[in-house]
């Protein structure tokens, strides 16, 4: 009797902690969503908490009619798609050969790759290199210099190494070369890890900020995060927004909220669907470094 009562109290306590966690995670998003649908007057009088006051779509209409913002959204979407595909291809090209035990020079290749995880040249040397090879202020600088993550490569390599080697060997008996084996046996079986890495790479590019801040000075090539940063940190909204292209000053508070929603919603739509995969990926990465 006593144990069951205490265990009920325990259950209630556990559920309570989880509810607090849920509230803490969701409140900021709901608050911003509410702000984005509210009138400026309500925002200035701070009447908005989790429900819109004076529901309207003005902020969204403005954001969508503002060429700069929609262009940045499409531009970032394009960068994300192209960057993710390139990253997946290069990561596979790196991980797959390294799963061959017999590959001559494997230890050496592994060593020079892993070394870059522990020691990197630093921001300024990388910046100067990109400058010297003419990458600065070009779209390519947002795709190529960080297209291969060693961490992600190790994820894929360990996933491939865990596949039964007998499949590869019997395919080789039948005369299939390494490329054939990769294409018709490994890649179809690697769907879970490919989905995980696609998510990691895509989120990385969609959220990427510092490379654009440091390497890109051309406004047309600004990804969404850089535009968003300039918008939200503007101390005097009116000055900056008018400088950025002119708008009704009163709108700025809900405008910020709407802009944040545009950058956030795509991620919220995608990540829960891939939960099964990325959990496997996250644990694999931490266990097998």
């Amino acid at each position: 009797m006593i144990t069951s009562r205490t265990s009920k109290i325990g259950d209630a306590f556990v559920v309570f902690i989880c509810l607090i966690l849920i509230v803490l995670c969701l409140t900021p998003i709901l608050h911003i969503a509410a702000r984005s649908f509210s009138t400026t007057e309500a925002l200035i009088r701070s009447e908005v908490s989790l429900w819109p006051v004076g529901f309207n779509l003005e902020a969204y209409k403005y954001v969508l009619s503002d060429g700069k913002f929609t262009r940045a959204l499409w531009w970032t979407a394009l960068l994300t798609v192209v960057g993710t595909i390139l990253s997946l291809i290069v990561t596979t090209m790196c991980a797959y050969p390294l799963t061959y035990d017999k590959l001559k020079g494997r230890k050496f290749f592994n060593a020079i790759i892993i070394f870059t995880m522990f020691f990197n040249a630093g921001t300024i040397p990388t910046y100067l290199l990109l400058k010297n090879i003419g990458f600065l202020n070009k779209p390519v600088v947002l795709i190529v210099p960080y297209c291969l993550s060693v961490f992600n490569m190790i994820l894929m390599r360990s996933f491939m190494s865990d596949l039964p080697i007998s499949m590869r060997e019997s395919a080789e008996m039948d005369g299939a070369g390494p490329i054939r084996v990769l294409w018709s046996i490994y890649l179809p079986l690697c769907k879970p890890v490919i989905a995980t890495l696609a998510l990691f790479y895509a989120v990385g590019r969609w959220n990427g900020f510092s490379d654009a801040l440091m390497f890109v000075n051309v406004r047309e090539y600004y990804p969404i995060q850089l535009l968003l940063y300039n918008l939200i940190t503007a101390i005097s909204n009116i000055d900056v927004i008018t400088a950025e292209g002119g708008t009704a000053p009163g709108l700025t508070e809900s405008l910020k909220a709407a802009a944040i929603m545009f950058a956030t919603v795509p991620i919220l739509l995608v990540y829960p669907k891939l939960q099964k995969y990325f959990i496997a990926g996250a644990t694999l990465g931490a266990v097998k470094e």
């Binding site: 559920v15 902690i17 989880c18 966690l21 849920i22 803490l24 995670c25 409140t27 900021p28 998003i29 608050h31 911003i32 701070s46 290069v90 090209m93 790196c94 797959y96 590959l103 290749f109 020079i112 790759i113 522990f118 020691f119 990197n120 040249a121 630093g122 921001t123 300024i124 040397p125 990388t126 910046y127 100067l128 190529v144 210099p145 297209c147 291969l148 490569m153 070369g177 390494p178 490329i179 989120v203 969609w206 959220n207 900020f209 510092s210 995060q225 940063y229 939200i232 940190t233 910020k256 802009a259 944040i260 950058a263 991620i267 919220l268 939960q275 959990i279 996250a282 931490a286 266990v287």
Partner: protein, 314 residues
């Protein structure tokens, strides 16, 4: 007499080997070129930390800096802004460690006790969400939620009859908010590794403990925690290894002119004085200092891990 034969045999098999596997090298070529161009060639540029940078001269033609090439290191360590950012890097990382490291362990223990499967799944999905948001978005959320006059939290604070709290506009409060937001962003995601370690614990241990009359808390303390001890140690050591590492987006996005004395870290220092201020030699020196200390910390951490009988990380 046997030697030439076996030599030819070797050469034959090597030839066969390459005939069979040359495509693997072809595949590897692209990533290897990537690493050489974007990771190793920049290492050549490290020498400008010891040289007087010049826009017009090539790397090899630049003259050595004064004081046996150490001029820019000396300059950096006499630079107030650098010393501030060094202190802040260590301070913020240590606070992150002290607060942010135990948090997901505790949460994992709690989630593990949750018996309602669907509720657990929903909780986890929601808790992972902040991990996928950029620091720019989080800063955007925080600036609005914590705003001094119109923010959600300060409305509540005022409702309770207290003075509004300057969460992001006063150094001490800023540090607390910075650490809190770090926990908010990472707590859910970081439970994944501990939860998976918990599932590896032998269920018989729980049964035995229950048989001995151990309640929920004692089972947590005597079975679950010891069961994930090695995961905790390895994760802790990895964190210790990165104590001088510095994030850029997080302090940069959350910082503002009022809190510069605590929000500037090594990464933002390098950005401001290097890429914006064009002091390439000094900022390269700072970056090199950070990389070298980082490697030393990692190696020491790895030694420690192995000393405590855990698998290393290097």
């Amino acid at each position: 007499m046997a030697q030439p034969v076996s030599l030819r045999g070797n050469r034959q098999s090597t030839l066969n080997y390459f005939r069979r596997y040359w495509t693997l090298y072809l595949l590897l070529l692209v990533p290897l070129v990537y690493f050489v161009v974007f990771k190793y060639i920049p290492m050549l540029y490290i020498q400008i930390a010891f040289k007087k940078y010049s826009l017009v001269k090539s790397l090899w033609e630049m003259p050595w800096a004064a004081n046996n090439g150490m001029e820019y290191f000396i300059k950096a360590f006499n630079n107030r802004d650098f010393l501030f950012s060094l202190r802040n890097t260590i301070m913020l990382n240590l606070l992150d460690l002290v607060v942010g490291f135990p948090a997901p362990i505790i949460l994992a223990l709690v989630l593990n006790e949750l018996r309602f499967k669907r509720f657990k799944r929903v909780t986890q999905t929601i808790a992972y969400m902040p991990h996928f948001l950029s620091w720019i978005i989080i800063a955007g959320l925080a600036l609005q939620v914590f705003a001094p006059t119109t923010g959600l939290v300060n409305n509540l604070v005022r409702g309770l009859g207290m003075q509004p709290i300057p969460f992001l506009n006063e150094p001490t409060h800023w540090v607390a908010t910075y650490v809190f937001l770090g926990v908010w962003q990472s707590i859910g995601w970081n439970t994944i590794i501990f939860l998976s370690a918990i599932t590896a614990i032998n269920p018989e241990l729980y049964e035995a403990a229950a048989m001995d009359g151990a309640g929920r808390l004692r089972r947590m303390w005597h079975v679950t925690l010891p069961g994930i001890r090695s995961t905790i140690v390895v994760m802790l050591i990895i964190r210790l290894g990165y104590i001088l590492g510095s994030e850029f987006d997080r302090p940069y996005a959350l910082g503002n002119a009022l809190v510069n004395t605590v929000s500037s870290v090594i990464a933002t220092f390098i950005y401001h004085f290097g890429i914006r201020g064009l002091q390439f030699s000094m900022t390269t020196a700072v970056g090199l200092f950070q990389s070298i200390v980082g490697v030393i910390f990692l190696l020491v951490a790895d030694r420690l891990a192995k000393k405590y009988g855990e698998r290393g990380i290097v």
